[in-house]
Subunit: 360 residues, 2 copies
DNA sequence: ATGACGAATTTGTATTTACATTTGACTGGT
DNA sequence: ACCAGTCAAATGTAAATACAAATTCGTCAT
């Protein structure tokens, strides 16, 4: 039975404030008054007040007095609502909003607040975000890696997280050097099934455009490669065009010539994702290349633009919000179990056939 | 010059932990040792240690000793990174991601973390989010009101925020009973210019579909109304179709008959926003109504779908991310000045002409 | 009225002393 | 090898005292 005087005073004060209906900024009893009321020394009163101040119940001003501060701690269960940090590369567009929505819904149901930061796929912004989150005292982190296929200065930070038992879950991709659980779709299979589909439609010369700095890009490329190998597609290795995600907007300006040459020589293109595919569609429109008559195009991710755009895009469904929910569930699971098992949640990709592929 | 012993000891300990490279869970000096080192009483040492413990630098165990805990507080500037709460109705889609991105960029530059909650336009979820944010100790709030045109149970909470000087900024709309600054576009003018444009194209019977539970809906309706009045459009009052935002997805199921009758009787429709307009376009497609030949449609907000969809939509440009930035700047301004002047940031809407309106 | 000054009040810092409670290691017996 | 008891060490609680620093407010002179 913890029966200490200063704790008794803490409780008494809370009761007192509640019963007297003291609002914010009302003057409270002085230390001396509390001493005589409780018949104890000033130090004991001070210890109680110190505790109350750190709990944000009161506010003390030297020379002036003690005041009631803010909301008087609604429930006695005074633990602050816990929060989870979410770090994403982007989220203004594409599939990201859906993923984050999925995360939010699960976190919210579990009573966690969500703190969001965006890295714009820049590792330094990731560093910044991680530092922020940690100094905010988050209970866990859900991170989409930035430039997951390149060396990364944050390895030390993640190691520290591991040591201090702050749970981390990745989504979309995972850093190979950080063994945390991950929610993602099976990107290799995604790359494979779009290529398989093109081949099943009779295409034999198929270009691929992939992100270079990103594990997802590598995996999708790998699926494309395996499909080409298994189906004895010749020359595929020379038909691959690599880009860095930072180039995404500018690649169609700077590398247009090279890209057009490549496109001229094939009958179909596997695009790293829908966003890229849609840019390609626009370029084709400008150049008078008809899709799918002159060129077949497939994307991956099934973003909403894929179904709305001019030539509805054949693509691979991305689990969007389900993936976000899975990531959040993984994190909550590790928080509950208090251990970090690196069990991933991998989603099986499904082909979505629309109008951007011709049979030959 | 604050030159207190216990603060000196706090600094000394931080230095010591850093210089000796003590990791988490390493045993630290005992209180007695610190007493002899600094030549002071044990209480003074304890005061310092108490501070360090509350800062999460050390961890004390009765009967055992003092231990180094976690990360040793990187910079001496030890105030936890401050965070701002952002409460939005939705954000997975439409213009919301852009708005939130704008907010994030400004907050991030100013060194604030962003905490995000979503209400799904439900006042109770707004209550929940507000409570969460407050218990997290945010420095300020950026809120998009939920059902801003209906009575709201959170009035008391906002009054409390006002009293306790926690700055609040609204965006998109403001509650009429809560006098906080607001960043929004001029919705009345937006409603007016689309109607004006339809009239300038020769339309004389123009329907309007507006959100009922939302100040933005009221204002856009008001613009539509004024334009009709000024241009002597007859019968406009009977051509208005109201809906609640919660009906949005289902209205085309339940009220289809009534809506079709309405559409049959007019040559043009003003839609509350692009999202609605696009749903309408799809319905028209299904029913074989050609846009713009049989029916002209205008939206408001210039979401990305407006430019991509089948019949590119004539609409009004929404400042998206600029509006988000403005909201964040308003908030940071009031934080800096420490007073809340209700100065709004209103954006002038601009018509974006695409292909969904026919001249008659 | 206004301003300067100072006393009283109130919280902050510092020391000293005493005892309580918990932990961990040591010791001795089985 | 194991168990139980003991004891020292470490932190926790409590009190009395003294002085420091900031604020408030009344008084007095201008």
């Amino acid at each position: 039975m913890d029966n200490y005087k200063y704790l008794a005073i803490v409780d008494w004060v809370k009761q007192y404030i509640a019963s007297e209906k003291l609002g914010p900024n009302d003057r409270f009893l002085t230390e001396k008054q509390l001493c005589t009321i409780h018949g104890c020394s000033r130090q004991t009163v001070r210890q109680a007040l110190m505790m109350l101040e750190s709990e944000n119940v009161i506010c003390r001003v030297r020379g002036s007095g003690t005041f009631v501060s803010g909301r008087p701690a609604p429930q006695p269960g005074t633990q602050a609502k816990k929060s989870i940090g979410v770090i994403s590369t982007y989220f203004s567009d594409y599939i990201f909003p859906h993923i984050v929505t999925g995360i939010e819904s699960v976190l919210n149901d579990a009573g966690y607040a969500m703190q969001l930061a965006i890295t714009h796929n820049q590792v330094l912004e990731e560093t910044q975000a991680l530092e922020n989150m940690l100094s905010q005292g988050v209970q866990g982190l859900i991170v989409e890696p930035s430039k997951s296929a390149l060396p990364n200065p944050n390895a030390g930070l993640y190691a520290e997280l591991r040591r201090s038992d702050i749970p981390v879950v990745f989504f979309n991709a995972k850093y190979p050097w950080a063994d945390f659980p991950c929610a993602a779709m099976d990107d290799e299979t995604a790359g494979r099934i779009v290529t398989d589909y093109l081949i099943s439609c009779g295409h034999r010369s198929i270009a691929g455009i992939f992100a270079l700095d990103d594990i997802q890009g590598h995996k999708r490329y790998s699926g494309y490669m395996k499909s080409c190998l298994e189906n004895n597609i010749a020359g595929w290795e020379n038909n691959v065009f690599w880009f860095a995600t930072s180039d995404r907007s500018s690649m169609f300006r700077f590398a247009k010539g090279k890209l057009l040459d490549l496109i001229d020589s094939v009958s179909a293109v596997v695009c790293y994702n829908d966003r890229l595919a849609i840019s390609l569609l626009q370029m084709c429109k400008e150049k008078g290349i008809r899709v799918p008559q002159d060129l077949s195009v497939v994307g991956i991710d099934d973003s909403r633009y894929a179904s709305i755009c001019d030539v509805p895009l054949t693509t691979v469904h991305h689990p969007h919000s389900k993936l976000g929910e899975a990531a959040a569930e993984l994190l909550l699971g590790t928080i509950d179990r208090r251990i970090m098992l690196p069990e991933d949640r991998i989603f099986v990709p499904e082909l979505v056939i629309r109008d951007s592929v011709a049979k030959v």
